[in-house]
Symmetry: C2
Subunit: 393 residues, 2 copies
């Protein structure tokens, strides 16, 4: 990993229970140009409110994140706790409080165990540089079963730079956004006028195109920090360098988004849903999301049942303009239905073969126009129910 000018640290604060590192730090040696996208949920966790206020300045130098407790629905005390955490951290690092971003993920409605959290901060600060990005990825996990890291390299003005990111899922994954945290770091220098727009557009094509169960959480945060430590010239809008950077950012975010779906709670399948032939891209996304969120479709995936009728039904109630007689559907390259009806022949047998795979695609052509969209989802398994029925206990 060649990412320059960023240091990591991870310690055990026993936020929910002891036994693993659950408090982590990203520290940039210099203040970084930064952008963030937060949950659209009207009920926002305290760290989200605080970080959103601070990111408006376009700068960040550190991020502190805990897993195990979301510090959401915790009222005025929750905000005081978030402020105090970042205050102690800023003092320890010797930076301005406004440059500290703060994230939390875990159970909702329970106050943060501030005694254990503040007690762990000195070790967190002291450990700065002792951890790798993999440790950061591991420390932010909740029901995730594996850490999620992605990276790419590019160059600007003859200088190489890196884009690297981590993410956590794994339930409540839904556009706009979900209990999803992702922190993306680059040592390229990015024009402050460009960073927010480029980041939002990348998030739309990645994290806002995945869904596990249609729930949108109180804590979602996606943060990008660009510290310029690689020594690149400042990448500005309208240049080939900006285009390259945007492409790399897309790749890193899409990698992370797909990893989140693959690690969806109880997921046994990774399914790409492609809608084409819609009247508009917005209609296509509506239809894709209806399919991707349908419990009936997702249980059929789990059961490896080539039940294309449920998919047509989901498209039908999605709100997208649909002419039932024009619908066509493929599982990978197997055409299951055309002109709204079953293709016949050996489609059933071949479609079932596709659904036995761990990864496959569903394509629905609406036959109306040029609109298209792609989203990623998982199946709905017994394990999903077990995980979420028992999460707090």
């Amino acid at each position: 990993m060649m990412l320059k000018g960023f240091q990591f640290s991870a310690v055990e604060a026993a936020i929910k229970k002891p036994g693993r590192k659950d408090l982590a730090l990203i520290f940039s040696e210099a203040p970084a140009t930064a952008a963030a996208v937060f949950t659209t949920n009207a009920v926002k966790a305290a760290p989200v409110l605080l970080s959103a206020e601070r990111i408006a300045g376009g700068k960040a130098q550190a991020l502190v994140v805990n897993s195990g407790n979301a510090n959401a629905c915790t009222g005025a005390q929750g905000m005081l706790d978030a402020q105090k955490t970042s205050q102690i951290l800023a003092a320890g690092l010797g930076i301005a409080e406004e440059l500290v971003q703060i994230s939390s993920t875990g159970v909702i409605g329970v106050p943060l165990p501030m005694d254990r959290l503040t007690a762990a901060i000195p070790a967190l600060v002291a450990g700065c540089g002792s951890a790798g990005i993999d440790d950061l990825a591991a420390a932010i996990m909740t029901t995730d079963t594996f850490p999620k890291v992605a990276q790419r390299s590019g160059s600007a003005g003859g200088v190489s730079y890196t884009v690297a990111g981590v993410a956590k899922g794994a339930g409540m994954i839904m556009p706009n956004m979900a209990t999803m945290l992702s922190f993306v770091l680059t040592d390229a220098a990015i024009d402050p006028a460009l960073i927010d727009r480029i980041f939002r557009s990348s998030v739309d094509r990645s994290f806002n195109a995945i869904t596990i169960d249609g729930d949108t959480s109180t804590n979602d945060t996606c943060l990008l920090m660009a510290n310029g430590a690689a020594g690149t010239p400042v990448i500005a809008a309208g240049t080939p360098e900006a285009e390259q950077f945007a492409g790399l950012l897309d790749e890193v975010l899409l990698d992370l988004a797909k990893l989140i779906v693959k690690d969806g709670e109880g997921a046994t399948k990774f399914v790409e849903i492609r809608i084409s032939g819609a009247e508009s891209d917005a209609d296509a996304k509506r239809a894709a999301m209806a399919v991707a969120n349908s419990s009936l479709v997702k249980t059929a995936f789990f059961g490896q049942d080539a039940n294309w009728g449920r998919i047509f039904a989901a498209v039908g109630y999605s709100g997208a303009k649909v002419n039932p007689d024009l619908l066509a559907l493929w599982f990978d390259d197997v055409c299951m239905a055309k002109s709204g009806i079953f293709s016949g022949g050996d489609a059933e047998a071949r479609g079932t073969e596709v659904l036995r795979k761990k990864e496959f695609s569903v394509q629905v052509d609406l036959g109306l126009g040029q609109g298209s969209a792609t989203v990623y989802t998982s199946d709905l398994s017994h394990e999903y129910v077990s995980i979420n029925a028992d999460y707090r206990t």
Copy 2:
């Protein structure tokens, strides 16, 4: 059962597989004033299209319904099959084809087994009057575990009359509507100018206020037939008799709607979601539906986990206007949270006690206005996954 002038019949046509009665008939001795509400899904099954066209005349005398095959996504052949079925039935009964309503429920995308279906119609017609309303309720079941019947009595002009209905669920239950069939019959005489309006309003407060999984099917049909055989005067709008009839209709439909939720696929809990203090009734319904459809909330119900935070999160993303600091929540009469935060004390223990019950209520007060709504839902269990993963096999 005192319902006059209606006859029932049910036979085995082995639509999906042999072993049970899966084809049923309602026959009114005289043409009845009728109204119907159908699925809002853009993908509508052939019998829905045909019945909707016919009900525009405001009259019906017979209904034929099969379970095991939805005759949906079956194209032009599906429509021919629906027409042929009703044609043979009309000839057998000696009535006009336009007076035959037709319903189907079951697997999507598979053509009706017309040989077996048409072969069974003579016995169906011959058996007219040999079956009770319970047999009708049983014959329309798919994954339902028990038949659903409700009835009430009223009187108009000193003459007693009955309102009786049957329904089937049990998955894909969602407003506007779901794989839900309900047939409601009365021997009162209802003014044709009144029946449609009164029926739609009743459906809104009952079947459109329940949800199992947020899916809306291709076949939903809710039919009301009023044949006047009891000898009541014609009940017209604006009279106390109309008000009484509307009240009884509400009760029958709500009884049936609640039975559907109780028999929701894999349901182990029956939960009433009440939202109060919303800016409008529409906002309240939006919030109630978001809670009722959240997989995370429903798995918490299954796990008997008093996870009020997930409920606040669902309210937060519902689209309803929400001020997080004003939210309050009760499980039955146990206040779990006030002013957006945990109530403390023994609320956790007492709330958990409530969730151990088979039936309980969740009330969320948004603290903003006078809007309110009530919806009914179930939990999301392992059994739901099993049923829907294996449905076609």
